[in-house]
């Protein structure tokens, strides 16, 4: 990775990377906005998409990929003691997952608590652990967060780092909606990000350094902007849009970073960002965060973000999708709950010893943007 193409592209004709501070200062002065202290060089980007980092291969689910919706629901109904004839009658009204109807009521509220039928999304422990299938592959994307190479860790397919911790991939990687081989994205995440894009403020990244064409220390800022990305005709964020970084400190993260052979990595630190909700967790919190940014020839970057993430937050993102995530996406909410709890690998509760965080990794791409920092919102 030493060719010039692997470096962060030097600013050419555009002003997108603040190579021409005079222009930026002139515009900021006109807008009455005080400019931030200038770094020697800054490159900024806005995240165009983000997905759970997965690496789905043939045979990586020893129990098989989770069955499709109808097969699984027939199994659940059988477990409830329904006869094949009753199941056929009930499923004749299944209607492709769309409700309402007796079968949907039965499947949705299949949990039992205090003598009542309850929705299993809100009450995942109201049913026994369905023991969903999990990934048993040795290859998985992410980072070695704990510095150990244990039996439950992966080898990253790109960096070949061993001891990679990505139990989130292991937990859900056998659902069809969560399976993909890069560069493809899992359907669930592709849809989730796209559906929330128009109400999610831009996630902006700035890399500051003395000379980004050379190896050395850098500062990486990763946070939320005040503006929502404008889409291209294909629906992706436009390049070169101007964003104001949200001045609220809790929406910003600053990392010490290092550039080596054109790639940027950071020292582990906490990460916190707020999303637009909907199909994404309202907030994403990571500890022991790792970040890897790799420039692409077209000026954009591809990145990997990883760390330990509270698994209950992940679970409630799915539960927030309601019964539709079961009947139309094909997830098994109690199964996800139990899998995340079982595979959680960090930050044990002092009283119960239950790990409250799970290792996770996210793949993303970001396109060049103009990011203005230190602006007070008017």
């Amino acid at each position: 990775m030493t060719s010039s193409e692997s470096r962060f592209p030097t600013a050419n004709s555009t002003l997108q990377q603040c190579r021409k501070p005079a222009t930026v200062l002139a515009v900021l002065a006109l807008a009455g906005i005080p400019a931030a202290p200038a770094f020697a060089e800054t490159r900024s980007f806005v995240v165009s998409w983000l997905t759970q980092a997965v690496y789905s291969q043939e045979g990586d689910c020893p129990g098989g990929v989770e069955p499709n919706i109808e097969v699984r629901f027939r199994g659940i109904l059988a477990d409830m003691g329904k006869s094949p004839k009753e199941i056929d009658e009930l499923m004749s009204e299944f209607n492709g997952g769309g409700g309402p109807g007796p079968v949907h009521e039965m499947l949705r509220n299949r949990g039992s608590a205090e003598g009542k039928r309850v929705f299993v999304g809100d009450n995942p422990t109201a049913v026994p652990d369905p023991k969903i299938h999990t990934v048993a592959s040795k290859i998985g994307p992410g980072f070695n967060l704990d510095g150990k190479d244990t039996g439950d860790s992966f080898e990253d397919p790109d960096t070949h780092e061993t001891g990679v911790d990505n139990q989130y991939f292991r937990a859900l990687g056998c659902f069809a909606s969560h399976r993909a081989m890069p560069p493809d994205q899992p359907t669930m995440w592709f849809y989730a990000w796209d559906a929330t894009r128009d109400r999610t403020k831009g996630w902006v990244i700035s890399i500051d350094g003395k000379d980004l064409s050379k190896d050395g220390d850098v500062t990486v800022a990763f946070g939320r902007a005040l503006e929502t990305p404008i889409r291209t005709p294909k629906g992706m964020p436009q390049r070169d849009q101007t964003f104001r970084a949200d001045p609220t400190p809790r929406f910003q993260n600053t990392f010490k970073g290092h550039m080596k052979d054109g790639e940027v990595t950071i020292d582990p630190a906490p990460f916190h960002i707020v999303t637009g909700g909907g199909y994404l967790p309202l907030e994403m919190k990571l500890t022991q965060t790792r970040l890897r940014l790799k420039p692409k020839p077209d000026g954009s970057i591809e990145g990997m973000l990883g760390g330990y993430q509270p698994w209950l937050g992940i679970y409630y993102m799915y539960a927030g999708g309601g019964y539709g995530y079961e009947s139309m996406v094909g997830l098994n909410l109690p199964g996800i709950y139990y899998a995340l709890r079982r595979l959680a690998d960090a930050e044990p509760d002092p009283k119960t010893g239950q790990n409250m965080s799970i290792s996770a990794a996210y793949r993303f791409e970001a396109v060049p943007a103009i990011v203005v920092r230190n602006t007070a919102q008017k």
Partner: protein, 591 residues
């Protein structure tokens, strides 16, 4: 590379002309500083002019909409589209006297008229827009109908209705109202009639004898008011202007000046200036502009409107708000951008409002030396005059000559091969300049291209969508160019050359006067146009002052009316002129 580099030709005459221009500019500046100068140009009297023709001009869609909005208010919704205008001598304004209304076009006017009349007479609007209430809503009421139709007809026809016109529509309202047992339905029919009348849809200019020169004709007072109002506000005369026409105020220099100043000092002057430049810059072509969004994903549909608006805001700010020098339109570093335009140009557009604000306009000033200066770098020029998938120095050079220099560039012959130019992936000719040079090996092509391409090649830093670039297919772009012997580099150099070009200001004077009168400049008006150019220069190329010059000039209203062979008197046509207004004795001519 992009630094401006303007070098004058070493020929002495050009140098002398340049010195003369510099001296004149110095005097203008000095005059402005002292505010007391009365140079020869400033003091000179308007030369005699034979005048132009009186015309019958169809309202443009914008003028139609503005008129309806002004007469009936913002609450009246207009839908549909009218037949397209025709561009003649570089202006739609000139083409308005060359068009008629087809059967299909009349249907569009009629549908719109019905919709307007329905709204004006509906329960939500009638109390505001109809100045009286009928004695009985379920019956005709001549008194109330006459009151409404007389008032509204005067505004629509831009003159009082003749007795015959008024009584005809009152009787229509009476019969329809009685038949339908609804006063408002009757008025609705009459109003529809007025709205589809040629008297509303066409500006029919009528003549009067110039009292100061009985052998000459000029526009009558109502036609003067109409020309004046459409020039400065792009809409029909308001009540005050019609009143001034009616009471003879417009026939006196003092009275005319009072009305001209009133119109010029109104914020509505912006409408007139926008209409002038929308026409002059050919923005009607945006209606058919497309870009290949695979190649230019930044050029979304929203930019079709924003590109025009950027230029119009820039012009209004420079020429009206700041009362700047017209020539600075080619060099100004100030403009207005939205977030989407910022994306297109890859420049910061920092919003100053709360989050979730939709596309907002932000004032931007590029730093000294920035290559994006002047109107010629706006998407409204470089994108409008490019192909969907590639830039075109030829189209840009042609547009610059035709729009800003009033020079006609011939169409290419039918048997030309454009294969070289279209091969943007050619491994040998990787830049437009290289492809153009290859194309020019054909001597048939070279003749025209040499007058367009040296201009357009200077704008090659801007791709087909208006985005900035320094290289094409990996090869650095050479933006050197030439215009009438002046060599320059890049858009900034071209802008400065245009700024300093006497032909550019001369063209604008011609275009603006042509826009005002609806006529291509005639040889018989050459003296006046030269005079107007001098006045424009003497007033520091300030647009409001120049518009005042036109509005106050005799040439603007003077008509070269046909004379009888024997007596030399102006020919009257009493058969079609309204016979109850003595001054209106001459009819307009179709141009």
């Amino acid at each position: 590379m992009n630094m401006m580099s303007v070098s004058a030709s070493p020929r002495r005459p050009r140098r002398r002309a340049s010195l003369t221009r510099a001296l004149r500019n110095y005097l203008v500046l000095l005059c402005g500083m002292l505010a007391v100068c009365d140079t020869a140009a400033l003091a000179a009297a308007e030369p005699a002019s034979t005048g132009g023709q009186a015309l019958i001009r169809r309202l443009t869609p914008g003028q139609y909409a503005n008129s309806i909005k002004d007469i009936f208010g913002e609450g009246i919704v207009l839908g549909g589209r009218f037949e397209p205008d025709v561009r003649v001598n570089g202006l739609l304004a000139v083409g308005t006297s060359r068009v008629s209304v087809t059967a299909a076009g009349f249907e569009q006017y009629y549908t719109t008229a019905r919709a307007v009349a329905d709204q004006v007479t509906d329960k939500a609007h009638r109390a505001t827009l109809i100045p009286c209430e009928p004695a009985n809503e379920k019956a005709a009421d001549d008194v109330c109908a006459r009151q409404f139709l007389e008032h509204t007809g005067r505004l629509l026809f831009r003159r009082p209705l003749t007795q015959g016109e008024l009584e005809t529509q009152v009787s229509v309202a009476r019969e329809a109202g009685a038949s339908l047992k609804d006063f408002y339905a009757g008025v609705r029919v009459s109003l529809t009639n007025l709205l589809v009348s040629p008297m509303f849809l066409f500006r029919q200019e009528t003549l009067a004898i110039d009292p100061a020169h009985p052998d000459q004709a000029k526009l009558d007072a109502f036609s003067m008011a109409t020309r004046l109002s459409f020039l400065l506000w792009d809409t029909a005369p308001d009540e005050a202007l019609l009143h001034a026409a009616e009471n003879g105020e417009l026939n006196t220099e003092k009275g005319l000046a009072r009305q001209v100043n009133r119109l010029l000092n109104s914020p509505r002057l912006e409408l007139g200036v926008r209409a002038l430049f929308t026409d002059m810059l050919g923005f009607d072509e945006f209606a058919t502009l497309t870009k290949d969004t695979v190649i230019f994903p930044k050029f979304t549909n929203v930019l079709i409107g924003q590109a025009q608006e950027q230029t119009l805001r820039t012009l209004v700010s420079l020429l009206l708000t700041e009362r700047g020098d017209y020539r600075d339109i080619f060099t100004t570093r100030k403009t207005f951008l939205t977030p989407s335009l910022g994306i297109l140009y890859a420049v910061p557009v920092v919003l100053d409002r709360p989050i979730n604000t939709p596309e907002r306009w932000v004032a931007v000033e590029y730093p000294e030396g920035d290559p994006r200066t002047g109107l010629l770098t706006h998407a409204s020029f470089v994108a409008l005059h490019s192909h969907p998938g590639r830039s075109s120095p030829t189209l840009r050079g042609k547009a610059l000559r035709e729009i800003f220099l009033c020079q006609k560039v011939p169409q290419p012959p039918g048997n030309v091969s454009f294969e070289d130019l279209q091969d943007t992936a050619n491994p040998v000719h990787r830049t437009v300049r290289a492809r153009v040079n290859a194309h020019l090996t054909n001597p048939v092509c070279a003749g025209c291209h040499k007058i367009t391409d040296p201009i357009g090649l200077a704008l090659e830093n801007f791709d087909s969508a208006g985005g900035f670039r320094t290289a094409e297919n990996g090869v650095e772009i050479d933006t050197s160019g030439e215009l009438t012997g002046v060599k320059f580099v890049g858009a900034a150099g071209l802008g400065q050359t245009m700024h300093d070009s006497a032909a550019a200001t001369s063209c604008f004077v011609n275009r603006a006067f042509s826009y005002a009168t609806g006529l291509a400049p005639a040889l018989t008006q050459a003296n006046y146009l030269k005079f107007a150019e001098d006045r424009f220069a003497a007033k520091g190329y300030r647009l409001p002052d120049f518009l005042k010059e036109i509005a106050m000039s005799k040439a603007f209203y003077q008509i070269d009316a046909p004379r009888t062979a024997k007596s030399g008197e102006t020919k009257a046509d009493a058969t079609t002129g309204p016979n109850d207004i003595p001054a209106r004795v001459f009819t307009a001519q179709k141009n």
